[in-house]
């Protein structure tokens, strides 16, 4: 399974766990902490095309609504439906049960441009 160490990070605080040409996407522990108690996750639709750096999902907390950007481009092949009933999973396990969607990458080279955990951590 994925954890902070084996994920890659976007500057906008999303992580991607790369396996072959697929990427599982979520938000970092730092991001969930900043967003605070999450009350709603607007998931993308399965089959939707997402573009690296463009909005793919929305997370609402008691403080604000935040856009979640796709770290890589491709087609959404799965979404975490459990978040509809229990959005707090993103707070509890941002790198586990709180994953958001899974992408079949159209341009796997994009994943190379994402930062390692150590590099991401250094920017916080």
């Amino acid at each position: 399974m994925y954890n902070q160490e084996n994920c890659k990070f976007a500057k906008t605080h999303e992580w991607a766990f790369i396996e072959g040409d697929t990427a599982v996407v979520g938000i970092s522990d730092h991001a969930q902490h900043e967003i605070s108690d999450i009350v709603f996750v607007e998931l993308p639709k399965t089959g939707a095309k997402v573009e690296a750096g463009k909005r793919a999902a929305v997370i609402e907390s008691v403080k604000s609504a935040s856009d979640i950007y796709a770290p890589v481009s491709g087609e959404v092949i799965a979404v975490n439906d459990a978040l509809t009933g229990d959005p707090a999973l993103v707070n509890k396990a941002p790198h586990g049960e709180g994953w958001i969607f899974k992408v079949k990458m159209s341009n796997p080279a994009e994943a190379e441009a994402l930062a390692s955990y150590a590099d991401y951590k250094a920017t916080l």
């Binding site: 900043e34 108690d37 604000s64 959005p87």
Partner: protein, 481 residues
């Protein structure tokens, strides 16, 4: 202390058979003269209370109000300035308040004249060539402005302009307006000094740009000092410049937006022009435009032929109706009163005092609460927290504790780019003594954070309703109606 049960509805206090006034029995029953089909099957379920119970119920509810008439209300971005009572009396005048919306124009000459003259006063205060007074609020004004921008580009057969550029320091309604009007939203990051990043703007501008929406001063309380350079860039790219005038209270009397190169602007009468807002009723978002956009204004403008006032026939290119009749006329009457009471010089003093008051509070509080962008601010100031010194206390805790101390809380967690934001806008109508008291309360809270942070986590304790569990309320809403 007031132990009256504030959390019970009048129907929950009802006791069968209890009543206030006893009327003589009716000589006729409703059934004697109404058709059977119009009669109720059963008695209406109304609260049964004595007159005293009823008086106490509503008097005590009214005492729970927190409003400008009772409290300092530094709700940043909202310009909660005092609304003079004289305007209330004038707006309630029978000639205005009792007029029927379908009354013929000859019997509504006073109302029409007021609207015509209000447009003239707004033109003088902003430099624009024409106004619509129809939009019902600021965001409605934005919507009207964006529709006019669309109509303008389409009238030139320029169909490629499908995007609106919005900096991240704009009001949240700006991107919402753009999306609502069917435009793509291009968000640009602000420069490190909190203002528009001109290089980012240049990159975003192009043949697809319909409109650039700038909030001036922006949501971090800073004036767009390079506006004279920014406006020509936008026009050279073939786009229009929209100014969100929600923060106009900081510059009215000093700056005429049309002279800065702004093409369209809304002005929130319920902020800058001292008409009531919030829970107090509707607003009005008059929209001003430069000459070449006048023909796109919505219908409902007033014309004067030298003898009588009438609703003007809309131009063929008008975007049509955005509201009905006279707009939010009760609000517009108050805005007219304000502009009649204050000439150009006093408007300038008003904005200068609004800016002075915000900077005064900034100076009083800055040692305890850092300012995110540390420049002289405009009409509002955005504080943040130094996490290392706050002992786990968050902005939310501070806002709740202020309620205990008899102040309305400032705006919190906005603007979004400031962590733990606390946005304070005192307005020009507050006295130095009031601001000193507020600053003293804020500093006391800072000290409490050092000694008894739990007190803050549990605040408010002196209010009728204690700390609300916002997370559960949002995650598991329990709705009744």
């Amino acid at each position: 202390m007031n132990n009256y049960p504030h959390n019970l509805l009048s129907i929950e206090k009802s006791v069968a058979g209890r009543r206030g006034v006893r009327f003589a029995p009716a000589s006729k029953r409703a059934g004697d003269y109404l058709p059977a089909g119009l009669l109720r099957g059963e008695e209406p379920r109304l609260p049964q209370l004595s007159e005293l119970d009823t008086v106490r119920h509503f008097s005590n509810l009214s005492r729970l109000n927190v409003g400008l008439d009772t409290h300092f209300y530094p709700l940043g971005s909202c310009t909660m300035k005092y609304n003079p009572k004289a305007y209330e009396a004038l707006a309630a005048h029978d000639g205005f308040a009792a007029a029927h919306p379908f009354a013929p124009e000859q019997s509504a000459q006073g109302t029409l004249e007021l609207l015509y003259k209000l447009e003239e006063l707004l033109k003088a205060a902003t430099g624009f060539d024409a106004f619509t007074l129809q939009p019902a609020a600021g965001a409605h004004g934005e919507f009207t402005g964006a529709l006019m921008a669309k109509a303008y580009h389409l009238s030139r057969k320029d169909k490629a302009r499908t995007e609106i550029i919005v900096p991240d320091t704009a009001h949240g309604t700006n991107p919402a307006t753009a999306a609502m009007c069917g435009f793509g939203v291009i968000s640009i990051k602000s420069a490190p000094d909190g203002r528009v990043d001109i290089e980012e703007l240049k990159k975003a501008l192009g043949p697809k740009t319909a409109l650039v929406m700038l909030t001036i001063p922006n949501t971090v309380g800073l004036f767009e000092k390079d506006i004279k350079a920014i406006a020509p860039l936008i026009h050279e790219a073939g786009a229009l410049l929209y100014m969100d005038g929600a923060n106009f209270n900081a510059v009215i009397g000093t700056v005429k937006p049309a002279e800065m190169g702004v093409d369209i602007m809304h002005i929130n009468t319920h902020k800058t022009l001292s008409t009531p807002h919030g829970g107090g009723g509707p607003g009005a978002g008059a929209v001003g435009v430069v000459k070449n956009l006048e023909e796109f204004l919505p219908q409902g403008r007033v014309a004067f032929d030298g003898k009588k006032y009438s609703f003007a026939k809309p131009s063929k290119r008008s975007i049509g109706a955005v509201k009905s009749f006279y707009g939010n006329i009760g609000v517009l009457i108050r805005a007219y009163c304000y502009l009649r009471q204050h000439d150009g010089q006093t408007l300038k003093e008003i904005s200068q005092n609004a800016v002075l008051n915000a900077n005064y509070l900034k100076a009083l509080l800055q040692k305890h609460f850092p300012v995110f962008f540390d420049y002289p601010c405009m009409h509002e100031c955005v504080f943040t927290l130094d996490a290392a010194k706050m002992n786990g206390v968050k902005t939310l805790d501070i806002a709740k504790r202020l309620l205990d101390m008899g102040f309305h809380a400032p705006t919190i967690y906005f603007p979004l780019l400031v962590p733990e934001a606390l946005m304070v806008e005192p307005t020009e109508t507050e006295s130095r003594e009031t601001m000193d008291n507020f600053a003293a309360a804020m500093i006391k809270i800072y000290e409490e954070a050092q000694t008894s942070p739990d007190l803050l986590h549990k605040a408010p304790q002196n209010c009728p309703v204690k700390r609300i569990d916002e997370v559960s309320a949002a995650r598991e809403p329990d709705l009744h109606w």
